[in-house]
Every structure is written in C-alpha cells, then in structure tokens.
C-alpha cells in the first residue's frame, strides 16, 4: 500500500487538525464512589477510566511491602469492545503487563511514595475505546484519579505522543490512523513543570537529526495537556467545594 500523506500541503492532518494541535480532551473526576479517587478522560476517540485505591495496607503477601516507601501497583486493561474488532482480552497478557509496568514507572517518579512506607497504592485503568495514544490517555486519567484520591505528588504526570509526517514535520498527539500508517512513534511521560521525563518510548528508530524536534514536540504537547488537566482539577475542586459549602463559588453564593 502506498503510504498516505499524513499531512496535506495545506498543513492539515487527516482528521483536520494542524500538526501542533492536540485532539479534544474532555475529562471528569470523581466518577465512581467506591474507589478513593477516579477519573474519566477522553482524548479524541480514546476513552479511558481510571480508579485509584489507597494508600492502604499491602494486600496479599506481606513480603512485597517496602519498608521505606509505598508500593505502586498498576493494572492496565482494555475492554473487549475497545477496538474495531471485538476481541476478548484476558487481563495480564503480555501487552497489558508491559503497559502496567510503564505506568508504574511513570507514577513512581511523581507520587511521593516515601510518605507512605509499608503501604500500597493501586491504580486501575481501563481503556473503553482505543484510538491511538492509549498509554497517554491512561497516564493522564490516572493523574486525575490520583489527584481525586488526594495522594501527594510532586507534580502532574502528563503523557503525550509525537510522530513524524512526510519525513520532517513533527506531529503531536497521534491518532490510531496515523499510528498505523507506519511512521515512527514517540511516547513521552513527563513532569512538565520541572521538565523532567519520567518515561520515553519509541516504536521505531528515529534518525538522530529528527529526534530533538520530535521530543520537543511531545514535551510541548505534555505542557498543553497539563494546562487542560490543571483547569479540570481546579474546576472540579470548585464544584465539589461549593457543594460542601466552601471555595470561591460557595462564598459568592453566601
């Protein structure tokens, strides 16, 4: 198959975005009552649920407990109906194990684990609809859920993908269509305020000449997403605050 142009000469991508534009992000915190914190996040057509339990005592064998910090336990899963083809996806298959590991790596860097020695924090994420950038949506949703659970973090963990179109134009927030067209993909999970990178993964080799601009593109995407998440958190706090009788709006109402 001839590779299609990911970006038209008018500068628009296949779905109508420009190269530096994110997909639409919509999110909601506190969607469940059972867990300590939860969030739902849509990044375009990628839709993810995240739930956080903890910190609580170590479940199962006590030997897993770490004496100086909390254990971060992540579990990634995809719904049977999440992709174009219906497929039963057993939990704990290779792919989701890998994803879980990557999630843990990113969150261990941000959660202040040393505050809760000998305890455990569980993060469960479920992909409801997969349309590219699943890992990123999971990280972003989990961050919101952690905030909702009130677990102290150094800062938000935000993830974003980037790719390269037509050999030289960096694309941010890659959709499934663009992922499948065969170009190399870069996933970055970052702590955007300090500019630290918690995780970086490439699907293929990038030439060294291209790498810096693609990384910069992904980081810029992280900063943009950070802003959106931050606003969402503030809005949520205001809402729940006003419901409880404190916060800005509560005062106005009085």
């Amino acid at each position: 198959m001839a590779r299609m142009d990911l970006i038209s000469f008018k500068g628009l991508r296949l779905d109508g975005r420009r190269a530096n534009e994110l997909r639409q992000i919509r999110c909601k915190m506190g969607v469940f009552s059972q867990p300590d914190g939860s969030a739902y996040l849509e990044q375009g057509n990628t839709k993810v649920l995240a739930a956080v339990y903890g910190p609580h005592e170590i479940r199962g064998s006590r030997s897993k407990a770490l004496h100086d910090k909390a254990l971060v336990n992540c579990q990634y899963s995809m719904a049977t109906f999440s992709t174009g083809e219906r497929k039963r996806r057993p939990r704990g298959d290779r792919k989701s194990q890998e994803m879980s590991m990557h999630l843990r790596q990113a969150f261990q860097a941000a959660i202040r684990v040393e505050v809760y020695p000998r305890s455990q924090i569980d993060i469960f994420v479920e992909v409801l609809q997969a349309d590219g950038g699943n890992y990123c949506a999971c990280v972003n949703a989990a961050t919101l859920a952690l905030v909702d659970a009130g677990i102290p973090m150094t800062e938000y963990v935000v993830a974003c993908t980037a790719s390269l179109a037509n050999g030289d134009v960096p694309l941010v927030d890659v959709s499934n269509l663009e992922e499948n067209s065969g170009g190399p993909n870069l996933t970055v999970a970052a702590l955007p305020l300090s500019g630290q990178v918690a995780l970086m993964e490439m699907s293929q080799r990038f030439h060294l000449d291209h790498l810096p601009k693609v990384v910069e593109c992904a980081l810029q995407g992280c900063r943009d997403i950070h802003q959106i998440l931050d606003q969402a958190v503030r809005r949520h706090t205001e809402m729940s605050g006003s419901a409880l009788g404190w916060g800005n709006r509560a005062q106005v109402d009085l």
Binding site: K10, G16, E21, R23, Q24, G84, E85, G167, H207, H210
Partner: protein
C-alpha cells in the same frame, strides 16, 4: 483556536467498526483578495480582486470551481494558462488523488504555480461547507453536493464583502461540471454552471485551447450510423474482479509487439510464459503498457507468434482483415504453441502522452485527422484540430482519451507541438520526451547550490583529507571526454608488492543531501549520452570542471587504495577522502602508446605498465570464475564540427587500456560493495544481475545447435566456456554475433537496497561477483553518489542523514534509478539510430552483413560496420509482385530460394539506402546483393554505374527498416562519450 466539533464517521464492514474523528475548523479562509471577513495571511491571497472576464458566455468577473471529472478528463486544458482564478475544492483534490496519481501530480504542479491563481479550499474541514452523507446517498452524489455547497458558500461569502461594488463588477462563482445530473441540481439551486466544453469554446483570445479538449464525452459518430461495433465489449470491473478471483481470468500487463501491430503479449505475474494475444478482437483495444484481464483460450486453439513483420499502413478501411486472417491461419503448424488468450477487459490504462505526426485528412477542411505515433507499439490516434495545416509539418504530442467500441482507432486530443519534422533539435526533443528523460535547464534553486568561483582548496579541506598530490596519478578516458570521474595510480613498493589506487571524483562533497541539486540529480539519476548531446545529471560547472579530475589540477577525490602482490593478490585495502593532482588526462590511445613504447621510462609509463599487467591477471581470474564476456555492436560517429551532422561511422575499437581501466573499476566497485554491505546490512545500495531461467536461452541454444555448437547455459561459467569454444574459422564475426545474441537473452542488472532482497539474490551473474555496486562514476550516475555517501559514513568521513538509512526510501530511489537508466539506454540507442539515418541521407552503399535470425517473411541482418540491424523482407510487400518465392523452415530456421539457403549467421552483402517517402519513419532499406538471386537481388554498386538514389528507391521491391535493438545491458563499465 482548535476543535469546534467532533463528528463520528461510522463505517461498518463485516466485522470492523471504524470510528474516525473529523474536526471542523473556523480558521480556513476563502483565499480571495476581495474578502474582508477572513483573517488571511498575505501569501494565502491567491484569487485576484478583479479577475478579467474573458469568456463570451460569462461576461462578468468570476472564479471557477471544477468538478472531479473535469479535472480528470481535461487536465490538459487546465495546464494551459488561459484558465485562472480557479478554486479547487478539497473533495475534488482527494477524489483526483484517489483516481489518478499522475493527474493529481499535474494538478498540484498547477496549484503550485503562483501565476495560475489556483486556490485549494479545504471544504471538508470548514465548519460551513462540510456535508454529511445522507442515508441512502451515494458517495459520488454526496461529493457533488459538497462541491455545490462550497460554490454556494463562496457565492454568499464573497457577496457579503462586495456589497459596495456595482452589480456587474461583483465577482461570481461558476461551477464547471460535465455531470448532467449535478448541473441540473446546481441550476435549480440558482448557481452559475456550465460544461467545460461550453466554457472553453467561449474563452476569448486563446486559439487552440479547444483542440486540447479531451474527447472523453463526445461520442464517436464519424460513421457511427448503423456501424457494427468493431470490438467486443469489455467486461465490467466487478466481472473482472470475480473472474480473477475464480481463476478464469488472468491479470497482467500488455506488451504490444513492435513488429506486428495485431499481436502482443500479456505478462502475467508469477507465470514463466507470456500469454500471446492476436488479432484485433484478441487485443480488444489494449494499448501497450495497460494492465489487462485476459481469458485463456482452450489449448487446442493456442497459437504461435506469427513471425510476421506487419505494420499498420491502412487508413481506416477493412483491408487489414486479410492480414489478420493470415496471422490467425498460421495456427495449424505443428510447432510449440504458446498459451493464447483474448483480452476481455482493461483493469488500468497506462496511457501517457505520445509524440508523433499528423496524417492529414484528405478531405479538405475537415477537422478530424489521424495521428501517427513515433512509437510503433502504440496505435494511431484520431484527433480533432483546427490547425491541421500548421501541424502537419510538425512533431506533435497527443494524448489518448478513450477508445469506443465502434472506432478502429482510439480518440485523443492535441497537447502541443514540438517543432518541424526532420529538424535535428526537434528529433532530439522527441527522443528525450519519448524516453521520459528530464532535460529542462537546471533551475535557479539548483544553480544556487553550486560553489562560488574561484573555487580554492582551504586549509580545513587539506586537514580532513589525505594529501595524495605527490602521487603520480593519471586518468585514461575516451577522446573528448570532459567529465573525468576516475583516475589511477600504481607504484612498486620496496617489498615487491604494488600500491594501486583508484581515485574517483568526490561528487558527494559538492552535492549535499537534501539540497535542490541533490533532489534534481536523484530525479535525473543518470547523465544521458546522445550522439551529439549530453544531458547532464549535475550542472556543467561540476560535471566538467570542479568534479572532473582534469590533468594538472588539484581536485578532491574518494580513493580506494590496495596493496597487491605481483600475482594480483590483495594484501590490504583502504578507503579515504583525498586531494589529488592528476599528472595527465590521457585517451585510451595515448595510454596504449605509452605502454607499448618501451623507450619511455617515466613514472607514468611505468605505472601504466604495472596496471596493465595486473589488470590482465585480474581479468583472467575473473573469467575463470565464470564472468561473461558479452558483446553489443557499438559505433561511433565522426561528426562535422559545424553542422553537427555525422560524416563517418566506425565501429568502436577496443584497446588493452580499455580493459585495463575497466578491470580496476570493477575491482573498486566490488570492494566498496563488500565494505558498505558490511557496515549497512539493511540499506546498502548494491547492484545485482539476476540469473535467468534456462528456458530463456532456448531459442539461442537452438540456433547454436543448428550450426553444430552445443551451448550450455547451466551456469555462468559453463556459458562462458561454451561461448569461447563456439568459433568458426570461416566466419570471424560468428563468435561476436553469438555473444550479441547471448546478451539479448540476459536480464538487466538492477540497483537494489540490500534490506529489500534476500541475501542469496545479491549475485551479479554477468560479472560473477557475489556483491557488486557502482562507485566509480558519480558524475554521471546518482547511485554512485549514494554509495559514496555510505562509504564516507563507514570510514567516518561524513555523517548520515535520515533518508540514507531508510530502506524503503532507498528502495523507491532504486526504482527510479533503474527506470531512468533503462530509459537513458534506450534514448542513447534511438539517438544512434537517428544519426544513422542522417548519415544515410542521399547515400547508397554496399556493406557486408550477417543474418542474425530468420523470420517467416524476412531476414534480420546485422551490419557490424554500423552496428545496425535491419530487416530484409523476402516475401513480397502487399500489392507488389515478386517472381521469386522463398520457402521458410521453422524447424531449421532457414529461408530457401532455389538452391540458395539462408541460415542464421551466414554472411551476406546488402545495399543500404534511406527511404524518405514516409516522414515519420525514415527507413533504411536493405536490398540483397550477394548471394545473387535473379529477380530478387540487385547488382552491386561497383559493377553498375552509380544511379541516383532516388531512382533506386522507386525500383525497390521490399521495404525494410532499422529497428532499435531490444534492451540489452552493457555489463562492463564502458562509456559512450560525446565527442
């Protein structure tokens, strides 16, 4: 700034559910200078404020919107400057891209030209013009509606900005569409709408525009009234699809025969043997190159190629039918039959633009004429033009639009004129166009990449390179060569070994990756050598000056240096970028004299002698390994210095020094190939020469067996050996001819990226080398430039860049290089043929020739002196009488007339002259002189007083003509240089 709305597009296949986002934007501008609403950037203001109304039908200022079919069918009209201020809607652009990539490219070229004022409006992502497909609506109808919605949007959008203008000055938008339904709907919606032909006919001050209108929709009605369709109908696409799926039909590319216009072959992928198609019904309107669907006939109806040389001479009458029957009758012979089939449908047309001449309609004042293409594989084309009187003396370009069932010839339209027939520049232009050689002048962008003169070697250059200026290096090339890309040296070391160096011009120093000059060179791929002209791959400043390793000038080189023992065993190899100063640029002849003249004992002569003796050992070893020595007739023209007309022809002489240079170039290429393959196993650019299945040699082996020589084509070595043994003392040229024929059986060597081909297919059959590449001629071949870059990286002299390491990009590059190389070769040969014709203008000569092969109605004769292959017809031409009959024997490959028998490889004497009765194809006419056959042969020139050549022409009994020899690859590194 972003996302306004999310749309879901659901496409339900059998299982797959595809959900896609579709963002609608509010920052897509209309691109018109009138508009006061959109927040344009300056460069986006494409459409003029006051477009000139140049149309009689629409005498008000307007913009044009095109419909998909109009773009697809009338791209030639669009390429004319007459239509400006055009809005191309994205829906159209996408559809065009989907339907025809060539038209898409041409459309993009037009859009890219700022003078044309074509604006692309991304209607699909505009919040007001996006149209969703309604339930039950067809995709095409939806697209047509989307276009109409855009037109309506433009109309109202522009109107709101020009409320202050006078009514007749207001810019309107006109939709051009050929679709009746869409036109009707547009009219109902109150839009301005016209068909393209309607619009074009009314364009003012642009004569000839109408001629360029495609004949796509006009039904062919010349004699259509009650006329039976000449061809069976094609299958529908779905029928073809089903047929191919079920195995009843086969898909393949159609190759028309050059010699017989009613015969062709279909090359089906995955089958050894081509499928033969014969007759008008069998061919069923396929044109050379088309991808077709074929239906195999039952085995009892299989046929054999007719061995007839047949040209379409008829005008439009039925006279061909006889010949057709003649072909079809030949079935009953008991010879190996080929799978035969009928073409039942066309999967994809590969029509392009064709060069040729106009054959004027004898009826005065008629606008319908016949176009005769220069390429004989292509049928004549019926065109309509008003300018027949001017065009009939010119070479013109025509494209085919359609081929209705009731027309004997396809319908086409005139594109442009090239110049007067017979004029050498015009003929060269034709030649270049027919072979798709990019030959325009280098653009400004390319020229700006050239280094500034005076060019000096800086201190930094010296530091980064090995200084070899003290070494006695010289170059050996054909006389008159200005692009010298290789030089050699040889020095005896103290331990008795030799230090041998091959120094190649360092072109990659000047052509940096990604620059305009690099892209242009990659496109051109090779320098094309015509007899009187050279089409450079890189601008002359580089090719003949800065890169050329001229005598006594300091130049950059890429050196490959070996230490060899006196038995030519390689002790060590190294590569380096260097600075050299060639002591002398010699010709092969001068070098030969230096070697032979033992009184000369300077270092250059000594090193040449050293090189020569080493080369002999290398060559011997190479041939022992199974390398082939092949032959192709090569000639050289001596050209008149003023008129550039050829005055003498001679076969190229080969000296020892030719093979000496060749040997070292091969050595360098092989060693570079090994090195780059080691360092870049995935993306090294190499060259391979595939081995052939033995079946391809069958006719050749048969020819050999008839003469009592057993030819073994099991392996390269066996073939080389049997070729060496096939010598006839009575016929010195016999061996050479055998090698020429062997060469023709071979496949072409091709470039490839190492990651795309299995390791065991890397072999170069002709040279018997496990890996091979091209390194030694970067001035005239782009492959070498890439190889230089790879080698430079592997020795740490340069850095990589992304495309170099991308095997897919290398693969597509190789594809282009192979294509251009092949075309360059054909163009070169066509140029030789052209000059041969020029040479024979007004000349009649007797020449010694040899029968190359025997056909049913003709003998194929090779004349070594001119490297010329011609056909000597033995059966009478249609209408002419001949009182001698020849008997053809298929089994023995002979033609017999009385007691004279012609076998392949027999020497004959023929008389050559040029038949200029047909301006399109000036033909070289062969007439038999010896052996004499009363009533058929002509007396030799020496025995008769020389007659006027014109008289001879009228007496001719058989017409024949020279064919450009079929594709063969020159395996050696031989060069044709322009004198």
């Amino acid at each position: 700034m972003w996302t306004t709305k999310t749309f879901l597009k659901k496409r339900k296949g059998s299982v797959l559910k595809i959900v896609r986002e579709h963002y609608l934007r509010d920052d897509i501008w209309c691109g018109s200078d009138i508009c006061t609403i959109c927040a344009h950037q300056n460069e986006e203001l494409v459409l003029e404020k006051n477009p000139q109304p140049k149309n009689k039908k629409f005498p008000f200022p307007h913009y044009i919107v095109l419909d998909t079919c109009v773009v697809l069918n009338q791209i030639n009209v669009l390429e004319e400057d007459a239509l400006c201020n055009v809005i191309v809607v994205q829906t159209v652009l996408e559809e065009v891209k989907h339907r025809s990539s060539s038209v898409y490219k041409r459309l993009l070229d037009i859009v890219g030209n700022p003078n044309r004022k074509f604006y692309v409006f991304v209607n699909e992502h505009h919040k007001d013009t996006y149209v969703e497909r309604e339930p039950g609506e067809k995709v095409n109808d939806r697209n047509d509606r989307a276009i109409r919605v855009s037109v309506a949007w433009y109309e109202s959008h522009l109107m709101s900005s020009q409320a202050d203008r006078r009514k007749r000055d207001r810019v309107k938008v006109i939709l051009l569409t050929d679709d009746v339904d869409s036109k009707q709907k547009a009219e109902n919606e109150g839009l301005h709408v016209a068909t393209i032909s309607d619009y074009v006919r009314n364009v003012e001050d642009c004569p000839g525009l109408e001629d360029r209108l495609s004949q796509h929709n006009t039904t062919y009605e010349l004699q259509a009234g009650g006329r039976e369709p000449l061809f069976p109908a094609h299958f529908t696409p779905s029928q073809i699809h089903q047929g191919i799926k079920s195995g009843k039909l086969l898909q393949g590319s159609f190759l028309a025969s050059r010699e017989n216009f009613l015969e062709g072959q279909v090359n089906v992928e995955g089958q050894d043997k081509m499928i033969l198609v014969q007759g008008r019904v069998g061919l069923n309107r396929a044109v050379d190159g088309d991808i077709v669907a074929v239906k195999l006939l039952p085995e009892e109806e299989w046929s054999v190629p007719s061995h007839m040389v047949l040209q379409d001479e008829g005008d439009d009458s039925e006279d061909v039918l006889e010949e057709e029957n003649a072909i079809l009758k030949s079935k009953d012979e008991r010879v190996a039959k080929l799978p035969t089939g009928h073409i039942v449908g066309i999967i994809r047309r590969k029509w392009r633009q064709y060069c040729g001449i106009l054959q004027k309609n004898p009826i005065e004042g008629s606008v319908r004429h016949i176009f005769v293409p220069a390429e004989r594989k292509v049928p004549k084309v019926r065109i309509e033009t008003q300018q027949a009187d001017i065009l009939s003396s010119q070479r013109i370009i025509v494209t085919i639009d359609s081929w209705p069932r009731n027309s004997r010839y396809p319908l086409g339209h005139f594109v442009r004129a090239l110049g007067t027939i017979g004029d050498k520049d015009t003929e060269n232009e034709v030649l270049l166009l027919e072979h798709d050689v990019p030959h325009s002048k280098f653009s400004e962008a390319v020229l700006s990449c050239l280094p500034k003169l005076p060019w000096v070697i800086t201190e930094k250059d010296v530091q980064s390179r090995v200084d070899l200026r003290h070494v006695d290096i010289c170059s050996v090339d054909p006389p008159g060569c200005t692009d010298i890309d290789d030089a050699l040296h040889c020095k005896e070391l103290e331990n008795g070994n030799y230090d041998v160096g091959v120094h190649i011009a360092d072109v990659s120093h000047f052509i940096r990756p990604g620059t305009a000059i690099d892209k242009e060179a990659a496109l051109r791929a090779t320098t094309v050598y015509l007899v009187d002209k050279r089409i450079d791959m890189v601008p002359e400043l580089l090719s003949s000056n800065l890169c050329s390793l001229r005598g006594n000038e300091e130049r950059f080189a890429f050196s490959c240096i070996w230490e060899l023992t006196s038995e030519a065993e390689i002790v060590s190899t190294r590569f380096c970028k260097s600075i050299i100063r060639s002591r002398q640029a010699m010709t092969y002849e001068e070098a030969q004299i230096k070697i032979d003249d033992l009184t000369q004992n300077d270092t250059l002569s000594k090193s040449l002698r050293g090189l020569n003796s080493l080369a002999k050992i290398l060559k011997k070893r190479r041939i022992e390994n199974g390398a082939l020595v092949l032959a192709s007739p090569e000639i050289r023209f001596q050209v008149d210095s003023e008129t550039q007309d050829p005055i003498e022809v001679e076969a190229k002489k080969l000296r020892e020094t030719n093979s000496m240079v060749e040997e070292f170039m091969l050595l360098a290429n092989i060693y570079v190939a090994i090195k780059i393959l080691e360092d870049f196993p995935e993306c090294a650019m190499l060259r391979r020469h595939p081995k052939l299945p033995v079946s391809n040699f069958e006719p050749f082996i048969k020819a050999g067996r008839n003469l009592g020589f057993e030819i073994n084509s099991e392996s390269g070595k066996a073939l080389a050996l049997s070729l060496d043994n096939a010598v006839r003392p009575d016929n010195a040229y016999f061996n050479t001819m055998l090698r020429i024929l062997a060469t023709r059986c071979m496949m072409q060597a091709v470039y490839f990226a190492s990651g795309m081909v299995q390791r065991d297919e890397f072999f170069h059959y002709g040279l018997a080398a496990p890996v091979y590449t091209h390194f030694t001629s970067p001035i005239r071949r782009y492959a070498d430039v890439i190889v230089h870059r790879l080698l430079a990286v592997s020795i740490g002299a340069d850095v990589t860049y992304p495309d170099l390491l991308d095997k897919r990009k290398s693969h597509s590059l190789c594809h282009n290089l192979n294509y251009r190389n092949r075309m360059a070769q054909y163009a070169g040969r066509a140029s030789v043929a052209l000059h041969t014709h020029l040479f024979f203008r007004g000349k009649v000569q007797d020449e010694q020739g040899y029968v190359l092969c025997v056909r049913k109605n003709a003998l194929q004769i090779l004349i070594p002196k001119y490297g010329l292959e011609g056909t000597l017809y033995v059966s009478p031409h249609k209408g002419a009488k001949q009182n001698v009959t020849f008997v053809y024997s298929e089994e023995k490959q002979t033609q017999k007339c009385g007691d004279v028998i012609f076998r392949p490889f027999d020497p004959v004497t023929v008389q050559l002259s040029l038949d200029r009765s047909n301006v399109q194809h000036e033909k070289i006419v062969l007439k038999l002189v010896h052996p004499q056959i009363p009533g058929f042969s002509v007396p030799s020139l020496s025995s008769v007083k020389r007659k006027e050549s014109d008289e001879n022409l009228q007496e001719e009994m058989e017409i024949s003509e020279v064919s450009v020899s079929p594709p063969i690859e020159k395996i050696s590194t031989k060069k044709q240089k322009v004198k």
